[in-house]
């Protein structure tokens, strides 16, 4: 009954609003809710206000900006699309989940072309599931690299050297090897392994491409085990939670905390090599999504706002404000961005990473399980054959997640 009443009221409102727009003196009204990370709430509010000023046709909407963490945003959207935000920021690995739950709308041909033309290739790929573009990229900085204390680490180019320096100084080297996000750094790229999933345009996983169960995989696994055995190694990736950092593998979101911690000794570099081979990893992106709408005007308004918030000038302004690395090609080319220490370290690392596609949620817990087994010392004395078997099991389980 309540829902009926609601839809009645909605359609009445619709009729009223279309009547007024026919009369030519009214604008579409309503509430548009935006969810972004806490540190950009004020920034987003200012930008949106500027947008409404510049585009009076959308000034009838009341726009509300709420701080909702990017991981939480996707979880909330999947739980209850109706109550979720109309526009929300999220890390790209959540995309297939959002698409499968119809919590994100395809942005249409015109905007797809605009996204493809404005952003770097990785970001464009990240906004797609199958062949359909679902989101507006806002950053290209969701990857990881090395922060280090230049008074502790003399040469950040090899993992062996970093670990030795840390051991000598009584400091620790941090890397979250029990995370499905950091762990592949040892496997991907020149290390000779891959693990990717194919999806169709509805967000379902159709195939898994993996060759972890190989000699190259065993070498990678042994490298991780060797790292875990070092007294200087600590599993972790958050500078705020680390207490004894000599060097840490982390992302741009921690650059402020890193500068605070290291002070004058703050330095950043691409990931080191291990056994002469460059560590790889994921290059990731942050996206803005628009919730599917039942009303055409509203959909257009939401898309226009999302497009604006992902445009070159806003991306650049966002970099100035909070240091997020832009995905927009024009913004990337600006002097400020190209001279940023953390971003240029990330840029160097990017040459060795693979763009992060979509992974089923089970993959992340499986990777954590593998990492936890290493941390627990289960494989400390394992033979090559045993390690190969571990990777074979891992790969088989990964395959089973694709239908």
């Amino acid at each position: 009954m309540k829902r009926k009443l609601l839809s009645l009221a909605l359609s009445a409102g619709l009729v009223a609003s279309s009547l007024t727009s026919l009369a030519g003196c009214g604008k579409a009204t309503g509430e548009i809710k935006i969810w972004v990370a806490e540190n950009v709430v004020e920034f987003t509010k200012t930008q949106v206000a500027a947008f409404q000023q510049a585009n009076p046709e959308y000034s009838g909407y009341t726009i509300i900006v709420e701080p909702v963490g990017e991981g939480d945003a996707a979880t909330n959207m999947v739980t209850d699309v109706e109550a979720g935000a109309d526009i929300y920021g999220f890390p790209q690995d959540q995309l297939s989940r959002l698409v499968a739950a119809q919590a994100i709308t395809p942005i249409g041909e015109a905007d797809s072309a605009w996204v493809a033309e404005q952003n770097d290739a990785g970001a464009v790929g990240a906004a797609k599931v199958g062949d359909v573009t679902y989101a507006y990229p806002i950053t290209s900085d969701n990857g990881y690299f090395l922060y280090y204390d230049s008074s502790v680490i003399s040469d950040p180019s090899t993992l062996e050297g970093i670990v030795a320096d840390c051991e000598k100084a009584g400091k620790s080297f941090y890397m979250e090897i029990n995370s499905g996000w950091y762990q592949p750094a040892f496997f991907f790229g020149d290390n000779g392994c891959t693990l990717t999933y194919d999806t169709d345009s509805t967000g379902a996983f159709t195939a898994c491409n993996s060759n972890y169960a190989s000699d190259a995989g065993v070498v990678a696994l042994k490298n991780i085990i060797a790292l875990h055995k070092s007294p200087a190694f600590v599993n972790g990736s958050s500078i705020s939670n680390a207490t004894n950092v000599g060097a840490i593998v982390d992302g741009t979101w921690d650059s402020g905390a890193a500068k605070d911690l290291f002070g004058d000794n703050y330095a950043a570099a691409k990931l080191p090599t291990v056994g002469g081979v460059q560590l790889s990893g994921f290059g990731g992106f942050k996206l803005l999504g628009v919730k599917p709408q039942t009303d055409k005007d509203r959909l257009e308004a939401c898309k226009a706002i999302a497009k604006f918030l992902s445009s070159a000038e806003v991306q650049l302004a966002r970099y100035d404000e909070v240091g997020w690395g832009p995905s927009n090609l024009t913004a990337q080319a600006s002097d400020k961005v190209s001279s940023d220490a953390a971003l240029s370290a990330l840029g160097q690392q990017l040459a060795f990473t693979i763009p992060q596609g979509q992974y089923p949620s089970d993959y992340w817990s499986l990777a954590t399980a593998l990492g936890d087994s290493i941390l627990a010392g289960d494989y400390d004395n394992a033979s090559d054959a045993e390690l190969l078997q571990v990777l074979q099991d891992f790969q088989d389980t990964c395959n089973s997640y694709a239908q």
Partner: protein
Amino acid sequence: MDMNRTKRNVNAFGMYFTRHLRLVGNAIKHSTIAAKISMVIFGFAHFLRLQFLRGVALLAGEVGLLYVIFGFGWQYLSKMGTLGTSMGGYNPDGTISYGDNSFFILLYGILAVLAIFALIVLWCINIVDNYNCEKKLSEGRTLPRNIDDWRNLFDKNFAQTILTIPVLGIFVFTVIPIIFMICIAFTNYDKDHTPPAALFTWVGLENFKKIFDFGGMGLGSTFFRVLGWTLIWALFATFLNYFLGMAVAILINRKGIKFKRLWRTILVTTIAVPQIVSLLYIGKLFAADGLINLFLKNQGLITNPIPFWTNANYARVLIIIINLWVGIPYMMLIATGLLLNIPADLYESARIDGASAFQMFRKITLPYMMFVTGPFLLTSYIGNLNNFNVIYLLNSGQPKSMSLVNGAGSTDLLVTWLYTVTVTNNDYKTAAVIGIMVFLVTSVISLIVYGMLPSIKNEEGFQ
């Protein structure tokens, strides 16, 4: 013996049911015209007899239930068999049209079924009461007046009066959600079948089969391993806290110890800090780069950090120990209250007989405590089976293990695992099955223990 009792219960229930059915039948047979009208308009006959209080109550009940059934229940009830058939989709202009929503069909459908059931019960009450009243009138007795009905609410029927709101509250906010989740166990509601994007439907016992599947990807071995650790954890957490808490209380109560209040206050301050803060801090103390490992390292006692959280066995023991930190203050308070109440002359005479301190504890203190705190022990055992905070805040069930499926970790309790399964993996169907199994295990244990408690057997002992 138990079999017989169950049989007797079933028989008793059957008799109760048939007796009431007969009553209703009898009432229908002997109904007056006014009573017949009130089969449609509840309370009609009551109004004619000037029993306004009952009449209003019956009519209000009918109107409310009919509103639920026809207001929104009906359209969903008709789709309960399939849980929806029409899929939504995107229109050419980019907007979306929604089809059926399986979730709402199931939820409103359940509400409608319950409303229909309640309406039938109300209908029976209505006509039986009519019959009783008419019978009284024909026998020349007087009917209770409105004011009598009203007074009875605070006297004869006082228990029912004060239980109405609690029973309703529990029904709406506990029973209905549980019925809903039990239904979910028989559907395929998971991340691939999430309304409004997709429909879910009935799949019978499919999900239950998985829990007894002990193959590589089967849930079976994971479920029983997590269950095993849950039971062990609850046992340790309950009894270690109990005995050590008691020991601390005895220690503080010892003759000759000064500043008793100070010692107690020190322990109690820890209760006040929210667990989300204190447990996170304690968890970090034991991390690879936490204060304890750093201290040991700086003293040169260790080279590699002690794997408190990464080694499954270390983590399990550590969690039980940290839980002592959480639980002992509570137990100490309770035990203090109890110890002060044990008659002192019992100890005095025991001492004269030459009993040692340990003997006195075993023969006097312990049996007394066990008798009085039996129910408390039961509730705290159940509480520990479902103790979410300690595990989740300390290490979130980690370390995970390659030999466990569905995101379970080595220190996960069933409830923390359920959290992962529902909130992280959105695998509601599996969660519902696990939930039902947890429910069966815990309720069987507690009902058995409940029956054995001296304080329950002897409920009226004190009165």
